[in-house]
């Protein structure tokens, strides 16, 4: 993927501490009560920083004075902080790959700098934005915090990944359209309350995030294309939001229109079949090339504009997180209201045939949106040149013991894409081909 900037949260993401935020909160409450502030004003102190601002406004006590209590506690907490296993390796990996790194934290500058120095990781960060560096109404979960960072680097949000352990990190990411990674089980250092938010990727620990980034940095997209000059430009444009030019592999399958030229203009990799070999042939070529280039993840994406790039990210999710070896975007699990009846019936027949041979039922075996990891992709032997390949891939994946996952997606059926793709006649051919495969 085209990752240009990674924005990290600090506490609970990169570092932990034995003193929990609940303890910080209780000690802050004690300190405030000592100052004679009413329990009503203090409330449950969630979130702490914003509550201090309100108390200052209500009582007229100097904010800096109140704030200093919190900073003191944070500094004390920072002293026994420790770096999570994998944090340094992840930062090193990103630096090696030329990715810019920023820190976005609700902690004070004093505590942040102390922690970074203590663990010797301050050199990795190109920009550090603490709560002291933005106005109180901009501090995350407000998007102003992240916006400052994006503006500083002048990077598109789709090429930015926010890594955090809390909904407070996900909210600004979603608002600005950045990708997000949620660390789900770093218990120490987590904030004392929860905010729900969906992340693009979820991993248990920062160590697993290291593996996730290794895969994401080497994700290739294979786009088989036969006479798609009308649609391929928009398809590539949408893929370029998230992927690098050298990661998008268009396999121009002997098109006799301008597909090749249109794709070349976008600067992506274009492999040209001198003669038309069909979908299977094209996919095989793209996958082989991606493996040669050292791909960790391979995504297949149709050139006729029926897939959404957001769905592609969703299909990538289980494979990138290491939970599956092969994921297929299922149009039947998602919204099928737009799928023509003939297609729905044709797909049902093919699903049945595939299930018989694969000994595994996949609700949409003919989907063109798939994601493999390297291991699974190299095990799959594609022999069907034509449309039967969709079934063959699932059968091969299942026989080779790949963990298969289905992800609901939405298919966009334009008048144009309705005319293409599998029909019932293709289905009969696929069945015949699969039977023959048994005899070879």
């Amino acid at each position: 993927m085209d990752i240009q900037l990674v924005v990290f949260d600090l506490d609970g993401t990169l570092v932990g501490a034995s003193m929990g935020f609940d303890e910080v909160k209780e000690r802050l409450r004690g300190r405030l009560e000592k100052e004679g502030i009413s329990a009503e004003l203090i409330g449950d102190l969630t979130p702490m920083y914003e509550t201090l601002i309100e108390i200052s406004r209500a009582t007229g006590i100097d904010f800096e004075y109140l704030h200093s209590f919190l900073v003191e506690l944070e500094a004390e907490r920072a002293k026994d902080s420790y770096l999570f296993e994998g944090s340094r390796e992840l930062l090193e990996l990103l630096k090696e790959n030329g990715v810019k790194i920023a820190l976005m934290t609700r902690s004070s500058r004093k505590a942040t700098e102390y922690v970074l120095k203590k663990h010797g990781i301050e050199k990795f960060f190109d920009l550090i934005v603490t709560r002291d560096d933005v106005s109180p109404e901009d501090v995350k979960p407000n998007s102003g915090h992240l916006k400052v960072i994006l503006d500083h680097f002048d990077v598109s949000p789709t090429k930015t990944i926010v890594v955090g352990d809390h909904g407070y990190d996900l909210l600004p990411a979603r608002e600005l359209g950045c990708l997000s990674v949620l660390i789900t089980s770093n218990e120490s250092g987590r904030m004392s309350f929860k905010v729900d938010g969906d992340a693009n990727f979820e991993v248990a620990t920062i160590k697993e995030a290291l593996e996730l980034f290794k895969r994401l940095l080497k994700t290739y997209v294979v786009v088989p294309a036969y006479n798609e000059e009308k649609t391929i430009s928009n398809v590539l444009e949408s893929l370029l939001q998230y992927f690098r030019r050298d990661e998008i592999v268009v396999v121009n399958d002997g098109s006799n229109d301008g597909t090749r030229e249109v794709a070349r203009e976008k600067g992506v990799v274009v492999l040209t079949h001198l003669v038309n070999r069909g979908l299977g042939g094209a996919l095989g070529t793209g996958i082989k090339y991606a493996l040669l280039k050292g791909a960790e993840l391979i995504l297949t994406f149709d050139a006729d504009g029926q897939h959404l790039v957001d769905d592609a990210l969703r299909v990538m999710k289980p494979v990138a997180e290491g939970r599956a070896d092969f994921a297929v975007g299922s149009r039947l699990k998602g919204d099928i209201s737009e799928m023509p009846f003939v297609k729905r019936f044709g797909n049902f027949v093919l699903d049945f045939i595939t299930a018989v041979f694969a000994r595994k039922y996949v609700s949409d075996s003919q989907s063109g949106l798939r994601c493999f990891n390297k291991e699974c992709a190299s095990k799959i032997r594609i022999t069907c040149d034509r449309y039967a390949v969709s079934s063959e891939i699932i059968i091969e994946a299942s026989r080779n013991g790949c963990r298969i996952v289905e992800v609901p997606i939405k298919a966009v059926y334009t008048e144009y894409s309705k005319k293409k793709g599998t029909n019932v006649l293709e289905g009969v051919k696929i069945a015949f081909n699969l039977l023959l495969d048994k005899m070879r």
């Binding site: 396999v251 002997g254 990799v269 274009v270 492999l271 040209t272 079949h273 001198l274 003669v275 070999r277 299977g280 042939g281 095989g284 070529t285 082989k288 090339y289 040669l292 022999t383 040149d385 023959l436 070879r440």
Partner: protein, 120 residues
């Protein structure tokens, strides 16, 4: 023996020699040689004893006249041949795909190499 039997025997013998020659020039795999020679041998036997064989098949299968039975069997055999042909074409198709694939990838690699050279 009828005249047509002589013609058939000559053609079949010529074919047998032709297939053997092809094997000798290494244009055929030994499995193919065995298959074709066996098939031709059966045809040779049939052309030498057409009436007896057709009557035997008729008795086994219970089909109308003896000659009809022979036709049915030969149609069956030609389907078998068609199937072999299908397999052969399929194999050729795969080889074409592999070839096309190799060319596509190698062209791209050459292009990448040239671009790299230009940059350096």
């Amino acid at each position: 023996m009828y005249a047509v039997q002589y013609i058939a025997v000559i053609i079949i013998l010529a074919l047998m020699v032709y297939v053997l020659g092809k094997y000798g020039r290494k244009e055929l795999e030994w499995q193919d040689l065995v298959f074709w020679e066996a098939l031709l041998l059966i045809m040779l036997i049939v052309s030498l004893k057409p009436v007896e064989i057709s009557l035997t098949i008729k008795n086994i299968l219970g089909l109308g006249r003896g000659l009809d039975a022979l036709f049915v069997v030969s149609i069956g055999l030609s389907y078998l041949l068609l199937f072999r042909l299908y397999i052969a074409i399929d194999k050729a198709e795969r080889e074409i795909t592999e070839l096309t694939r190799q060319i596509a990838i190698e062209f791209q690699e050459i292009k990448e190499m040239l671009e790299k050279l230009e940059r350096d």
